[in-house]
């Protein structure tokens, strides 16, 4: 459902490692070296203990659907309806927003096992979508 005219991320100094990871096929999240909390979206310090000792952790890309909605009225005409927006709960215990692809929209359910699938949108941007785990 993505095409070259959907609004794409404009990486910042803070978020660039995440987007670079996507381009390399690795889902990366910040992890606090003091308390081990995974921090997403990227922040200048840990949202749990405020340590600024954050590393980028390579994640398995596996998780489950925490919640989902099928959109039938897109905010912009560039999105082709219907599509599924979901909160994905990653194995490492953090949450991110994404789309679930690769199955009929009505099959998506809470707790459905999913894994990341990277799709190159432009030379700069690869987006981390999720598909049902087979």
């Amino acid at each position: 459902m993505a095409n070259d005219v959907i609004p794409l991320p404009r990486p910042t100094a803070l978020s660039e490692p995440h987007w670079n990871g996507c381009r390399e096929g690795i889902l990366r999240v910040q992890q606090c070296q003091r308390c081990k909390t995974c921090v997403f979206i990227p922040q200048p310090c840990c949202t749990h203990c405020q340590s600024n000792d954050l590393n980028w952790l390579d994640c398995s890309g596996k998780g489950k659907v925490y919640s989902h909605t099928t959109v039938h009225r897109a905010p912009r005409p560039q999105f082709e309806v219907p599509y599924v927006v979901a909160i994905i709960e990653l194995e490492e215990g953090w949450h991110m927003l994404s789309n679930v692809l690769g199955c009929p929209v009505e099959d998506v359910h809470v707790n459905m096992p999913v894994c990341v699938e990277f799709r190159e949108i432009t030379d700069e941007i690869t987006l981390p979508y999720f598909v049902p785990t087979r």
């Binding site: 909605t69 009225r73 905010p75 912009r76 987006l127």
Partner: protein, 384 residues
């Protein structure tokens, strides 16, 4: 009981300008109309106002421009919006910075590009925008999790939306005046972001609104029924439309604000006569009933189906049709909840929408998809 300092403050003027899907007027004219209407409602003149929070959404008119426009020399200018703006003004009056404050705002011409959803519903963050997120989807992610955990149903949402919309249908000033719907109509309306259908969602519209607050002492000199601030609280989690709206983290936003509010007032949910609470999406009513303490967590859906929220129920809610039917205009809609409460408590509603002998009204702003909920309790008497 000593009572909250908020209780030394009363709302004495409350006014909504005409509201419409699209107004032909200039935004500043609408803003001026809001100010004049609130002054008239309070029986005051602009020269008596020495606190200003008067802004517009599209033209981004600021309080300082308003001060210039009115040739005023205020002791205080406010900067917050909605319920926090009321609390902020009340504290300024408490602190002696001003005695009488006006809060007014208007929005015209913000959403004319109808191929897209309204601009304020579309996030721009790099971790949100590319997934086709927008406000209904954010709130839907909360609703879906609640359905999963507690078995809440779309029929319960439809009951809420129909109740609110049928109140608006009977309110001559509502944008959707005369448009009655059944719960089945809600269920038959087209899907927007599951589980929300068109009639589960707020509308978009234009208009202005204004409120005047003054000290309780000054209020007693005026020829109006003062409506006192019994208590209030704000609960803001950051950042909405940037981070995922995870129910386990943010589902109870507003619980603390409501607890604070009721504790300041020395009252309980059972003391409330009317609920002018925030209705951006049908589910949000269920969430608020639970976190405000009207029912237990997970029981909101059943509570709704027992009919408590209808005009003839124990807790009539959103009696002017709210954001779904009355209006949803820029930042004005945030103060329209307290305005609705003031009008109810003063008996200014059409007969069939009047909550008889209402003395205490609960109002709120925000919602869990927005990761904030602010609460304000208003009453015709200060609890002794």
């Amino acid at each position: 009981m000593s009572g909250s300092p908020l209780q030394q403050i009363a709302i004495v003027g409350a006014y909504n300008t005409p509201q419409a899907k699209q107004l032909q007027s200039n935004e500043i004219d609408v803003l001026l109309n809001a100010v004049q209407g609130a002054l008239h409602s309070a029986g005051m003149r602009i020269a008596e106002v020495d606190g200003f929070n008067v802004t517009s959404s599209t033209q981004r008119f600021t309080s300082r421009q308003s001060v210039m426009l009115f040739g005023a020399r205020p002791g205080w200018t406010g900067s917050d919006i909605g319920i926090p703006a009321i609390i902020e003004a009340a504290l300024a009056i408490n602190a002696g910075l001003c005695e009488t404050a006006i809060i007014a705002t208007a929005q015209v011409s913000a959403h004319r590009e109808r191929k897209k959803t309204a601009p304020w519903t579309r996030p721009t963050n790099e971790f949100v925008e590319c997934w086709g997120l927008f406000t209904p989807a954010e709130f839907a992610l909360m609703a879906r999790r609640h359905m999963h955990l507690y078995g809440t149903t779309e029929e319960q949402f439809a009951e809420i939306a129909a109740t609110i919309r049928n109140n608006g249908a009977r309110h001559p000033a509502a944008c959707h005046y005369g448009k009655f719907v059944t719960p089945q109509d809600v269920l038959n309306s087209r899907m927007i972001a599951e589980p929300f259908r068109l009639l589960d969602c707020a509308m978009t519209s234009e208009g202005g609104a204004a409120l005047i607050l003054t000290s309780a002492a000054r209020a007693r000199d005026l020829d109006v029924q003062p409506v006192y601030l019994l208590g209030g609280g704000t609960d803001k989690q950051g950042m909405a439309y940037v981070t995922a709206p995870v129910w386990d983290k943010y589902g109870d936003v507003g619980r603390r604000a409501a607890k604070q509010t009721f504790s300041q007032a020395g009252l309980h949910p059972t003391d409330v006569d009317v609920l002018e609470i925030y209705d951006p999406f049908s589910f949000e009513i269920i969430r608020q009933l639970e976190v405000f303490g009207f029912c237990s967590l997970g029981e909101g859906g059943d509570f709704v189906m027992e009919g408590h929220l209808r005009m003839d129920g124990r807790f009539p809610m959103v009696t002017n049709g709210g954001l779904m039917s009355f209006s949803h205009a820029g930042l004005a809609q945030l103060i329209q909840k307290p305005i609705s409460a003031v009008q109810q408590l003063r008996g200014e509603y059409p007969e069939e929408l009047t909550v008889k002998d209402a003395k205490v009204a609960l109002t709120s702003n925000g919602g869990s998809g927005a990761l904030f909920t602010d609460v304000l309790l208003l009453g015709t008497e200060v609890p002794s």
